[in-house]
Symmetry: C2
Subunit: 360 residues, 2 copies
Amino acid sequence: MAQQHLDPTDPTAEVVTGDALGAYLRAQATEFLRALRLHRETGGTTAAGAEESVDWARLLRRSARRISGSLHTFRPLLDADWSEEMRPELAWLSGTLGLEHAYEARLERLLLALHRLSGATALPVQAVTTVAVGAAAPSDSGGPAHPAATQERGNLTVGAAKAGALLERQLTLARTRAHSTALQALGSSRFHAVADKVAVLASEVPLTPTAPTTDLRPLAAAAEERLTDAIAALPLVVAGNPYNAEALVHGLSPDPSPHPQDGPWHQVRLLLRLHRYAQEALHGGNPPADVGLLAAGRALNRHRDASEAAAAAAQAARTPRIAPATAYALGVLHADQRHEVEAARFAFQQAWQKQTVSTP
Amino acid sequence: MAQQHLDPTDPTAEVVTGDALGAYLRAQATEFLRALRLHRETGGTTAAGAEESVDWARLLRRSARRISGSLHTFRPLLDADWSEEMRPELAWLSGTLGLEHAYEARLERLLLALHRLSGATALPVQAVTTVAVGAAAPSDSGGPAHPAATQERGNLTVGAAKAGALLERQLTLARTRAHSTALQALGSSRFHAVADKVAVLASEVPLTPTAPTTDLRPLAAAAEERLTDAIAALPLVVAGNPYNAEALVHGLSPDPSPHPQDGPWHQVRLLLRLHRYAQEALHGGNPPADVGLLAAGRALNRHRDASEAAAAAAQAARTPRIAPATAYALGVLHADQRHEVEAARFAFQQAWQKQTVSTP
């Protein structure tokens, strides 16, 4: 893609063999064990502070994703049975440990958006919840010069505040459940089996007999090709045309899974990650910085977050017996987050265009 | 602005005097009378077809706007008392006759948007109302394979359909009232007094004694300067940055007039129109085509239409005792139209940027 990547067709380039993959996997396994130690030291199985628990969990997921991704990209170089057993376990672990943080980030995103949509000036994130709920006080609606107008103003303010309170209730509950599930997972024999395997991996990578002398680069190039193929299939012309109103097309659709259009973008996000990990394996964990790819990856993260936040707002609107003002606020919020989805696609298109233009 | 405009500082350019203004005003007055005749011939005071009534009303408003605009821009060249009496009467007439069409267009815009947001494929405009209302039938929600999901799907579909039906009821009522008001206005002595004055104008323009030899161009240039000054004061840097999320900032604001940010754009729309009419007066009714200005004007019309449609959706959401699903759909619709407002500002910024770049 960019010139600093190793070119497998360049005969003068240094060959990178399975030995480098072994070193990369050992390093990632060591990181995994370090995160686990951090968790045990900070007492993660008790009700530890959420911040500490997120830190070690993030480190652990980070290395789990890299191990799992490398197993996928460099499959022919690794013991097949071991790989096939390992990958779903790492995916389970990473998914289970990621949920708590995902719900927390989703709530923060939605409350910030509600705050912005209420036309308030910027406030620190910590104050958002308080403000959103506090705005429900009818005394905030001002003097009764125009009773009807004051009533309407009150209703809208209460709508935003009630929507915030509802989302907070629902997503905090989901987060608490995710926290319990994660704690249960960490105490399970399934987890201990994964941890044992990773401990072995830290010293001994099950490479195939020929792997130590096999060139990694064709497999890394194949991962890159899967990425570029998937990107080529995205509707980038539409995405590059600002305000195409495409992301909200199914905003009120009767379809129970209303945003199938997001799928290909989520898929590219995963392929971009696999490509990055493959580059890490080729470059001893430190690939040359690729600003365009980083920007593209950030845009796809934003796309995913906004897509899920929009779905959470739509889901909250289906809560029985909510007030019309609450439902209205959730509708505005849903559409706002779908606009964010569209904006993220535009940002990705711009980053990718620069990326391909700068490629020699 | 663009090179084809007459430059008042260019000594070789031909002087355009008050005589040209007189000819322009006479032509517009004649158009006004022609529209009036059309109205009388098609029996406008009875319940005539809406299409015919809109046609003559549009012609009449078109010339009323041009007469009124010229009275404003070229005020020093016209009898002051006459001008001051004439302008508010033309504004009243133009406003009264424009309302019916405005409500009709607003409803059409909102129903089309609801249709698009429901993820349906494009349908002819005529079918929109039927489809939106028809979708309320619960039999449309498909087989009961997943009762809960089906129920949710049903709710959302019903929400969009109910929102459409509510908007249709409210805006059709407003339109019917506007129609009655327009008919009353056309039968009033106030209207007959305006029509009489326009009939006089068609043969005799009350120019000041010095007007026939006075250069029109400095006054036209002043109108253009008012336009460029107002545009320079717009937040064009923000508007040119796609997905700035600025238009929805007050989407849930407790402010009773939630979109003061639209005001300066509406003002530029009016100044752009005055500038165009001034150019028409200078060029015997046919100024050189200015594609950039036309595109800028279209963007500002779209801005105004979307702004008013968004307000109508928000207003409908304040109807007492509506279902949460209806309110949710109206929230999505409101945000969608505010997004259109933002898109229109972007389109204006793009058109204006081209315009100023192409100016020598």
